[in-house]
Each structure stands twice: as structure tokens, then as C-alpha cells.
């Protein structure tokens, strides 16, 4: 049996209409809905910072998302295939395979393996040169292979915690040397209202070497099949802080 949130997604237009109706009739009406029949808040199947951040959730069979940052399709309820389509524009073809390891009432475990191929020129392939990348690879390709073990724990109806352990292998053509880096990422997902999610992100990369610290906050709005996310993250490098927004917009099906 599909969980209640999935039922809403099976009927996106009906869901859209219900959302519009709820909006038009005012939030108190929605709040007055009996808890037993209220659909559970929808969960994120992806992290906002996908190289290091994930969730233990996978899309149901035939479900998925088409978004600025992700295109994903659930397979058989046990896994999902995905890619970040925009990265192709930046000369970085990529793909992810995510497997559901265990799904319980409160705990979900998943493993994801991904591959990013930063083709020559990818390091500086920005629309705007106002962004200075830490990599310029005009003459060589770089490959990043993150292997992630992610778990999601529904601590309360309004709170979900995600933890992701990542082993990232970076290799490439000379002068790049193969390297394995470990990352830990913790995400708190506050499901304040049915269509809104607030997130706090905390990540650490490099284990005892403490190469990178990632801090951030984001907000997610679900409007029927449409989902938008916006956030801001800071990275603490050895040489200082770097802040930037993150944005996503897409449709779930």
C-alpha cells in the first residue's frame, strides 16, 4: 500500500486543486483536519548539497522528480536512477544509482553511488566569470565517485534527521592524483506545515583533516507537483569562508 503522501502524488492535479482550495479557504481549515486522516508531510528524497548530502528515502516505483538540479526515477520501490541534468551544461556528465537498504516506520536506510565526470573545461564553465572555481581543468578530466550511506530518522511528526556518510574518490588524468575523502553530513528537516519544510545543514569533509565545513539553511515549498527549494550555504575552507545561495525548482510525479 502506498503511503498517504504518495497517494497525493498519484493525483497531482487533484493535489494541486486541493492545495489551491486549502489556500483559498485559509490555513485554519487545513489545521482543523483530523490528524488521523491528514496526509503525512512529504519527505525529501535528495539532499540540497548532493555531493555530500543525501537522505535515506527513495522514490516509489514510477515516481520521481524532474527539476533544475535532479532528474530521478524510482524503480520497483527498491531504488532510483538519477542525474543532475544541468551539470551536463557545465561539461560534467553524471549519474546516480540509489538503493533502499531498509525502510521502517521511523528509519530508512539507503546507499547511493554516483559518478561525476568533469570533462576538460568544466572547472571554469560558469555562465558568469564572477564565480572563481578552485579547479581549472582545461587540459585534463577529473572524476568524482561519491559512495554514500544515508539514513533518515523520523524523530517526530514534525522533525526528520538525515545523516550521510560519504566516501568520495577523486581521480583523473595527470596532474590529478587519486584521493579518497570522507565526509559526514547531518540535515535537520523541520516539517512545520504540510507544504513547507525548513532545513538546517551541517557537513564536515576530510574527517580528522577537517578540510571543509559546510553550514546552511534552506526552505522547501511543495505546491502540488511543483517543488521549489532555496537555501544558503557557507563553506569553511582552510583559507576562509565562502557563502553562496542554492536553488532548485522542479516537478514531482
Amino acid at each position: 500500500m502506498r503511503p498517504p503522501d504518495r497517494q497525493l502524488h498519484l493525483r497531482p492535479w487533484l493535489g494541486c486543486g486541493l492545495v489551491a482550495l486549502a489556500w483559498a479557504s485559509g490555513a485554519p481549515g487545513a489545521r482543523a483536519e483530523p490528524a488521523a486522516t491528514r496526509p503525512l508531510p512529504t519527505l525529501a528524497a535528495n539532499g540540497l548539497y548532493p555531493l555530500w548530502e543525501g537522505t535515506g528515502d527513495v522514490h516509489g516505483h514510477g515516481h520521481g522528480v524532474v527539476a533544475l538540479r535532479d532528474v530521478q526515477l524510482g524503480l520497483g520501490g527498491w531504488g532510483q536512477l538519477g542525474s543532475q541534468p544541468l551539470e551536463f551544461v557545465f561539461r560534467t556528465p553524471n549519474a546516480q544509482l540509489k538503493l533502499a537498504l531498509w525502510r521502517g516506520e521511523r528509519w530508512r536506510w539507503a546507499m547511493q553511488v554516483a559518478c561525476y565526470a568533469l570533462l576538460p573545461g568544466a572547472g571554469e564553465a560558469f555562465f558568469s566569470p564572477t564565480y572563481a572555481a578552485t579547479l581549472r581543468n582545461q587540459d585534463f578530466a577529473v572524476f568524482a565517485l561519491p559512495l554514500q550511506l544515508a539514513t533518515s530518522w523520523r524523530a517526530a511528526p514534525w522533525l526528520q534527521l538525515h545523516h550521510t556518510l560519504t566516501a568520495l574518490t577523486v581521480a583523473g588524468q595527470p596532474p590529478v592524483q587519486p584521493r579518497l575523502t570522507v565526509g559526514n553530513f547531518l540535515t535537520a528537516e523541520l516539517l512545520a506545515l504540510r507544504h513547507h519544510g525548513f532545513y538546517l545543514h551541517l557537513g564536515e569533509v576530510g574527517a580528522w583533516a577537517h578540510e571543509l565545513l559546510i553550514l546552511g539553511a534552506s526552505y522547501r515549498l511543495r505546491w502540488g507537483p511543483v517543488e521549489g527549494r532555496v537555501g544558503y550555504v557557507y563553506r569553511r575552507h582552510a583559507e576562509g569562508w565562502q557563502g553562496q545561495p542554492l536553488l532548485d525548482l522542479g516537478v514531482r510525479f
Binding site: E87, V89, P129, T134, P174, P175, R179
Partner: protein, 510 residues
């Protein structure tokens, strides 16, 4: 139709945000990717930091304070082009493709029209650059490995300077840390010292340089696996001469007082009587570019030079006499207080200058004894080689005066050079385009650049890489630093030939 317009605007805004979001996603990916190179492959990394508006005097103060070990750091005066304005100057230093004018606001003589005037020109400073579009920014930007830290970086640079400096230093050294894994050379850009020079007392500029030097040493300490060789260079100086409100000169008022009609096009000028000029009014700088017809350039220059706020005015001139005309030299004049202070010609074939003897060269800061020149080379004219002229003006009030004058009128880094260039008598300065209720232009009063005098024109070369002459012409930086030239080429910059007479035989200069 009425409802379609806001809808289209909304769609455009959303698309703009999505494009921005694309860069953000890739930026997050690349800048959190721990790529490691082999230190044996690039054990030495040459780091060039282009520090906008870093004055020689600021570095000299740091030297006096013992912040720069003389056995490691070599400092030289870097004499900028005239007018000493950032975009033009960086274009010339890095031999990038020329800009249309000296500033983003310019006069297009091909179409007889002013471009990027007023608010549009100012807005161009804050508009995010998008590669491959009309918003790509000047060509020299492509030479930098790092020149900004996000779409709003130029905006923060002028409105939240302390925040911007911290952010830029972090961004610069984060980029360097990553790039040093695989690169042999790195060129970064730092805007904020120029903004501080305009908007804050000198002590704050000194403090900013101290921060930069400290960050360099911290970076070195963090990365013992490689040797980093730093070179700092700047596009112009800052004169640290504050201007009070009465010193800001409105270009149109200046022309009116000089009995020169201020017009917006040559067509408009030709409709009236008497000399006319199209003034370029952009940012508060200590020079003013005037476009006019060549035939009246001398007269416009003479009239403007009579104004008390004006120091020197440059114009191209006709030859001094028929014999000189036959020699094919390029003549130019400098006007001061309503009279021709200098009438000189440049001989490209001999790379030398001919100066009329009646010029008061001492008043122009030209010390011929320093250049070892015999004052009897010609009957009518005094002839100076380019090297002699460089030495004669090196320590003077107007460094490298003759080269800067004659090359200011040629399309080296500007496709449309002005016919008349005004150098203000400090503390007077051009008010630039004034924005009502803006505090930026009111705050920008502590220091200026653009004029011919030494404070404005003298930037700095500060290097651990090589020994340096006492003074360097900014057009020759790439000759002294071939690794930088090679790095620019590797970054895809098609290096322009520059002025054919720019080279200096530094080895022969005393």
C-alpha cells in the same frame, strides 16, 4: 496586452534566477571537490595579485614599517598610462583587447553618440557579468583566475567595503589553494584597496595592505608542500589628496566657464558657433576626457587650461612648422594656464621625442640632467630617446610624461581615444555622474586617480620573483614577467601587441 507585460517580466525574472541557480549548483560542486595534484609536478607556483589602486606610497609605508623583508620583496614604481583609470589600465598592462573608451561610459564617434550614459553607465559596474553576452565585461577579466566572489561582488565592493574585503580575500585564497594543486601560475584580482583609497582615510588602506600581506604569509605557512612566489601589481596609484565639496568640478560648468559648448554629439556641436566638446562624465576621477573635432582640439584645450581647477590639458597638434610636417612625426601639445607649455613630437621610427626649446621643461618635472641629455642636439628642437625621456621624468611631478601623453591619444587600450584630455589640479576633481541621495559619491572623496601627477599615476610592482628597476612603465610588465604572459595566453587571452614603442631598455637606464 496590458497583462502580458508583467507576465513576461515575471518569466524573465524567473529565467534569470534559474540561470543564476545553475552557476550556484556548479560552484557548490566544484568548490567542495577535494582535487589533489602532485607537488612534484609544480613545486613552485608563481602568484600574481592584481591589486586595484595600490599606490607605491602605500607599499613604501609598509616597507618603512618593516612588513616587507627587503631580501625577499623588490618594490618598483609602476607608472600607469594616462588617464590612470582601471579598466583601460588593466587592459594595457595585460595586453587585452581594447575597450571602447577609457570608462564604461564613452563616446562612439562612428555613430556620433554617447554610450552607457548616466545611470546606465553606473549600473554597468554592478551588473553581473555573463560570458558570451553583452554583459561579458572587459576582455582582461578573462585573464584572471579569480576576480570576484559572486554576482553581487561589485555591488558589495562599493556599499559594504569591510565585508567585501573579507569576502574577497577569502575567495581569492580559497581559489588559489585549489588552483595551486594543478597550476604553475595564478592571477587574482582584488578590487577593495581602490575603493578604500577613494572612500576611506589613508590609514585604512595601509591596514588593508597589511591584511593582504598577512594572508600571504598565512597561506604560505598552510602550504609548505609548494613554494609560492608572489608578485603584486597595480593599475594606478591613489593620491590621498582629499576633495571637499567645492573641489568637485562639474564638466559642463567647466566647459561653460571656458567658453566651450558642452554637447552630446558632434552633430549638435556643428549646429552652433564656437568650439564645442563632448564631455565624458562617469565616475569621480581626476581627469576629464573631451571629444571634439581635431581642428579645434588645440583651441578647446587652451581655453579649458585657463580654468583654475585645471592643471594640464593634452591635445594632438599640428606640426610646429612646414619642415617638421614633412618629417611625419606625431605632434602633441600640453596646455597650462592658457598657454602651450609643451609642443612635442614623437618619431616612431627613431622611438624618440622632439621638444621645442622654448618649453619650460623644469615646470613639467622633466630633469634633463638625470637623463644625460645634451641640450644641443638640434637647432630648433631638443631630441630625447624614449629611455632618456623616461629617466628625465622618472622622479618628477609627472612620471613618464612624454610617453604617457603621446600614447594617451592613440587607440592602444581604447578604440575611441579622446581628442582632449584634462588633468585636474588637485584637490579639484571631476564630480562624475551624481546620483541623487547616494552616499557613495559623497564618500568617495579621500583620494583620486586619473590625473598626470605622480600620486595618481604611480602604482606598484612588488615582487619576490625578480629584481626590478626603480621604475617600470606599466605597458612593459609582461616583458618583465614572461610567466605571467604565458599564463594569460594559457587562459585564452589573445595578447595584443600594445604600443609599438612601449619597450624600454631597462638595462641601459641608469
Amino acid at each position: 496586452m496590458a497583462s502580458a507585460r508583467p507576465h513576461a517580466r515575471r518569466v524573465l525574472c524567473t529565467l534569470g534566477l534559474l540561470v543564476a541557480g545553475c552557476d550556484w549548483q556548479h560552484f557548490a560542486l566544484v568548490n567542495s571537490l577535494p582535487v589533489e595534484g602532485d607537488p612534484a609536478a609544480n613545486p613552485v607556483v608563481h602568484v600574481y595579485l592584481a591589486v586595484d589602486g595600490l599606490a607605491y606610497e602605500t607599499v613604501a609605508a609598509a616597507q618603512r614599517a618593516g612588513l616587507l623583508a627587503p631580501e625577499r620583496w623588490q618594490a618598483a614604481k609602476l607608472v600607469a598610462m594616462f588617464p590612470a583609470s582601471s579598466d583601460s589600465s588593466w587592459s594595457r598592462i595585460l595586453h587585452a583587447a581594447p575597450l571602447p573608451g577609457y570608462e564604461l561610459h564613452y563616446f562612439d564617434p562612428d555613430h556620433d553618440v554617447l554610450r552607457n550614459e548616466g545611470y546606465v553607465g553606473l549600473a554597468c559596474h554592478g551588473v553581473p557579468h555573463l560570458a558570451g553576452t553583452a554583459l561579458a565585461g572587459p576582455d582582461y577579466y578573462r585573464g584572471f583566475d579569480s576576480y570576484a566572489d559572486g554576482y553581487l561582488d561589485p555591488l558589495w565592493g562599493y556599499t559594504a567595503i569591510e565585508f567585501s574585503l573579507s569576502e574577497s580575500l577569502d575567495g581569492l585564497f580559497i581559489a588559489l589553494e585549489g588552483r595551486a594543486e594543478t597550476q604553475h601560475a595564478f592571477l587574482g584580482y582584488l578590487l577593495e584597496l581602490d575603493v578604500l583609497g577613494h572612500m576611506r582615510p589613508r590609514a585604512e588602506v595601509d591596514a588593508a595592505l597589511r591584511r593582504l600581506l598577512l594572508r600571504i604569509e598565512q597561506f604560505r605557512a598552510h602550504h609548505p608542500e609548494r613554494r609560492f612566489v608572489f608578485t603584486l601589481l597595480s593599475d594606478h596609484g591613489i593620491d590621498f589628496v582629499p576633495a571637499e565639496p567645492e573641489h568637485f568640478v562639474d564638466a559642463r560648468a567647466l566647459l561653460r566657464d571656458a567658453d566651450v559648448r558642452a554637447v552630446r554629439s558632434f552633430a549638435e556641436g556643428r549646429r552652433g558657433r564656437g568650439p564645442f566638446a563632448v564631455p565624458i562624465v562617469h565616475t569621480p576621477v581626476s581627469y576629464l576626457a573631451l571629444h571634439t573635432e581635431a581642428a579645434q582640439a588645440d583651441e578647446v584645450a587652451r581655453r579649458v587650461s585657463e580654468q583654475p581647477s585645471v592643471d594640464l590639458v593634452l591635445s594632438p597638434s599640428s606640426p610646429a612648422d612646414a619642415a617638421s610636417a614633412a618629417e611625419g612625426r606625431r605632434w602633441f601639445s600640453v596646455w597650462q594656464r592658457g598657454r602651450r607649455a609643451l609642443h612635442a613630437a614623437y618619431d616612431a621610427a627613431r622611438d624618440s621625442y622632439a621638444l621645442r626649446r622654448d618649453a619650460d621643461l623644469a615646470a613639467l618635472g622633466l630633469d634633463l640632467s638625470a637623463s644625460g641629455t645634451s641640450p644641443a642636439s638640434l637647432a630648433e628642437h631638443l631630441e630625447l630617446s624614449d629611455e632618456q625621456a623616461f629617466v628625465a621624468a622618472r622622479e618628477g611631478r609627472y612620471p613618464d610624461l612624454l610617453y604617457r601623453l603621446r600614447s594617451a591619444l592613440t587607440p592602444v587600450s581604447n578604440r575611441y581615444p579622446a581628442e582632449v584630455l584634462v588633468s585636474f589640479r588637485r584637490p579639484y576633481t571631476s564630480s562624475g555622474f551624481r546620483v541623487p541621495f547616494s552616499s557613495v559619491d559623497e564618500q568617495a572623496r579621500h583620494g583620486f586617480h586619473g590625473s598626470l601627477d605622480a600620486g595618481s599615476s604611480t602604482g606598484v610592482l612588488l615582487s619576490e620573483e625578480r629584481a626590478l628597476p626603480a621604475a617600470v612603465r606599466s605597458d612593459t610588465v609582461l616583458e618583465l614577467f614572461p610567466r605571467l604572459a604565458e599564463h594569460l595566453r594559457a587562459r585564452g587571452l589573445e595578447l595584443q601587441p600594445g604600443d609599438p614603442g612601449a619597450n624600454l631598455a631597462y638595462g641601459q637606464i641608469p
